[in-house]
Amino acid sequence: MQFSKYIISFIITGSIFGAAFLLSEYLSDKKAENITSIEQRISLDILSSETQFDLLREVKCSDVDNSILSGEIGTLGDKLTRLESERGIADSETLYLKQYYSLLQIKDYLLSKRLSETCQKKTVFLIYLYANKANCPACENQGYVLTEVRKNYPDLRVYSFDTELDLSAIKTLLSVYKVDGTLPALIIQGKPYYGFKSLENLNDLLPQSLRATSTSATTTKNKLSI
C-alpha cells in the first residue's frame, strides 16, 4: 500500500487550504482598504465642507450647492455591514472602521445641520439607534423599514448608530437627545421616538415638506403586493 499518496494528498490539501486562507485574507484586506479609502474621501469631503462652511460668512448660500454633503455615507454603511458579516463583529479592524464611520456620520450630521440652519434649507435628519438582535429583536425589522424609507426619500439624511459600539461620541449623542435605552430609537428633526415604527408610521412622522418629494410612486412599480 502506498502511504506516500496519503502524505502527498495531505500536503496538497493543506497547501490548498493555506492558499485559500491567504487569498481570503488578501481580499479581505483589499475590502478593508476600500472602506478606509472611502472613509478618507468622506473625511476629506467633511474637511472641505467645513472649510467651505467657514467661508460662508463671506459667500452667499446660493453659491454653495448640495455637493458639499457626502453621498457615500450610505454605501459605506452597507460595505461595513458586509465586512462585519465576513470577519465577525469582534474583528478589531472592522470595529475600528465602524467607529471611524460613526464619527464621520456625526460630523456629517453636525455640518449638514449647521448648513441647513444657516442657509435655511429644509433638510430632514433621521438618526437611527440600534443594537444587536439579542438586545433589540425589533431592530432587524426597523432596518428593513429604513432601507425602504431611504429609497423612497433620497433627500432624507439617515444616520445609523450601533449603541453597543464603544465610542464616547455615540454616548454623548444618546445623552444629548436623552435616549432612555428603549431600542430601536429614531430621532427625527431632533425629537426621539421609541420602539418599532412601521413604514406607514414612519411616513406619518416625516415632515410634510419631505413627503412631497417621495419617490414611492415610482418605487411601488417595483413593489409586489402580498
Binding site: 487550504f17 485559500a20 432587524e140 409586489l224
Partner: protein, 410 residues
C-alpha cells in the same frame, strides 16, 4: 454567517472532503493502465461463464434482459444463462419460457425466499468457472462480457464489476441518478486501481466460482448481499477489479418515494454490514479499502447528517429573516448591482467553491468515461434531488439501525 464551533466543523468537513477528492484525482491522473487490459481480446482465455438472472415479478423487463444476454459477443458454448424465478405471481415465468428453446438458457422456478436465495440456487446449478448475476431490470452491452473477461486475465482477479449506466432516464429523479451513476462509474474505476471496490453490484458483477466455494454463498445480509459479499472477499484477501468499458444499463427508481425506499434499504444494509465487518477499518492489511474507502463512507454519512441539520437551521433562519422583511416592508425586488466587494470571499466560501468545481470536474470525467451525454437539466436535477431527498433516507436509515428495524426489498 458562520462562527465559532460550526465554522470549525465545516472547515474540518471541507478538509476531509478535499483530501479525499485530491486522493481520487491523483489516482485518476496516475493513469496506471492495467497492463492486462491492453491484452488483445483475441488472445484471451475465454472462461466458461454462467449468468444468473433472478426474477420476481419482472414481466415488463425480463424479455429485454434476456435478449441483451443472448446478444453478448461471446461463444455460445461458453456462456449459459440461468433464469431463476423466485415465486413470481405475474407472467414472469411464462415470458421466461418463451426463451426455453434457446440452448444457452435454462429456467428454474422455486418458492419465493429472496433474491440471494435465487442467486445461490443458480450457483449450485452450474459448473461454470465464472458466475455472474444480472438483475432482470438491467441490460448488457454486447461487448460487456468480453471486457470483463479481459480483466479476468489477471489470475489474481476473483471478481470484476461493470460500468453501470442509467437506462433512458425520463423523470427528473432518474436524470439525477444518471449523473450519480456516472460519478459512481468513475469512482469504481479509481477504486479498482486501488483494489478497494466496496460493492459488487447486482447488475453483471462476475465472480470466479471459487469465491463461493471458498467463502460460501450469498447471505441475506440485510438485503444488501452485493455489499456483504464484497466485504467478505476483502476480508479474505480476494481481489475485486473493474471493467470500465463493460457497460450495463439499469432501470432506476422513477419517483422520489421509490428512490427513497431503495436508498433506505441500501444505506441501512450498508451501515449494518459495516458494523459486522468493522475489523476491516484502519487495518493496513486491507489496503486502501480499510484505510480510506470504508472510513470515508462512514465519515461522509455523518457529514451528510450534520450538513442536513446545519442547512435546515440556516434555511429556517433565512426564511425567518425574509418573513420579517416582508412583514416590515412587503415584497420588494432587490437592487441588482454588481460590486466585487459584496462577493463572499471568506476562506470557507473560497474552499466551498473549489469543492464544487472539483465535483463538476469529476462529473465531467465520469460522463466522458461512460460515453454518455450529460445535459444541464440532468446536472441541475442532481444538485436539487440529492440535497433535498438524501437527508430523509440517511436519517431514517440511521434511526432504523438504532431501533433494530429492518427494511424490506420492496
Amino acid at each position: 454567517m458562520f462562527s465559532g464551533i460550526p465554522e470549525a466543523i465545516i472547515l474540518g468537513i471541507i478538509f476531509i472532503s478535499l483530501f479525499f477528492q485530491v486522493f481520487i484525482l491523483i489516482t485518476f491522473f496516475e493513469k496506471k493502465e492495467n497492463k492486462l487490459t491492453k491484452n488483445k481480446k483475441g488472445s484471451q482465455t475465454l472462461f466458461f461463464v454462467c449468468i444468473i438472472v433472478p426474477v420476481w415479478n419482472e414481466e415488463k423487463t425480463l424479455r429485454g434482459t434476456l435478449q441483451s444476454l443472448l446478444a453478448l459477443n461471446y461463444p455460445k458454448d461458453k456462456l449459459e444463462i440461468l433464469v431463476i424465478d423466485d415465486g413470481s405471481t405475474d407472467n414472469t415465468l411464462s415470458i421466461a419460457n418463451e426463451f426455453a428453446h434457446e440452448s444457452q438458457i435454462r429456467i428454474f422456478s422455486k418458492e419465493n425466499s429472496g433474491k440471494h436465495t435465487a442467486v445461490n440456487f443458480g450457483i449450485n446449478q452450474t459448473k461454470a468457472e465464472l458466475v455472474g448475476c444480472l438483475d432482470a431490470d438491467s441490460f448488457v452491452d454486447p461487448e460487456a462480457l468480453r471486457e470483463i473477461i479481459t480483466v479476468f486475465q489477471n489470475p489474481e482477479m476473483m471478481a470484476v464489476t461493470p460500468c453501470m449506466i442509467v437506462k433512458t432516464p425520463k423523470t427528473f429523479v432518474q436524470q439525477a441518478q444518471k449523473i450519480e451513476y456516472t460519478v459512481g462509474a468513475l469512482l469504481k474505476r479509481i477504486f479498482g486501481d486501488l483494489s478497494a471496490i466496496q460493492v459488487t453490484p447486482g447488475p453483471f458483477s462476475v465472480f470466479k466460482k471459487k469465491v463461493f466455494e471458498d467463502l460460501g454463498l450469498y447471505k441475506k445480509a440485510y438485503n444488501t448481499e452485493d455489499f456483504e459479499i464484497a466485504l467478505r472477499m476483502h476480508k479474505h484477501g480476494y481481489k475485486i477489479g473493474n471493467a470500465p468499458k463493460a457497460y450495463v444499463y439499469t432501470t432506476t427508481p422513477h419517483t422520489p418515494y421509490k428512490l427513497f425506499k431503495q436508498r433506505l434499504r441500501w444505506v441501512q444494509g450498508n451501515l449494518l454490514n459495516l458494523i459486522d465487518y468493522r475489523e476491516l477499518f484502519f487495518r493496513v492489511q486491507y489496503g486502501h479499502l480499510g484505510m480510506l474507502v470504508l472510513p470515508m463512507a462512514v465519515i461522509y454519512y455523518f457529514i451528510a447528517l450534520f450538513i442536513s441539520i446545519y442547512s435546515v437551521v440556516n434555511i429556517t433562519q433565512w426564511i425567518g429573516a425574509k418573513i420579517t422583511q416582508v412583514n416590515s416592508v412587503g415584497v420588494t425586488l432587490p437592487n441588482i448591482t454588481f460590486d466585487w466587494f459584496y462577493v463572499n470571499t471568506s476562506t470557507l466560501s473560497l474552499l466551498a467553491v473549489l469543492l464544487f468545481v472539483i465535483t463538476l470536474t469529476l462529473i465531467s470525467f465520469g460522463i466522458r468515461m461512460t460515453k454518455e451525454r450529460g445535459s444541464l437539466l440532468e446536472l441541475v436535477s442532481f444538485f436539487v434531488v440529492y440535497p433535498i431527498l438524501a437527508p430523509f433516507w440517511l436519517w431514517r436509515a440511521g434511526i432504523d439501525v438504532l431501533r433494530g428495524k429492518h427494511n424490506s426489498w420492496r
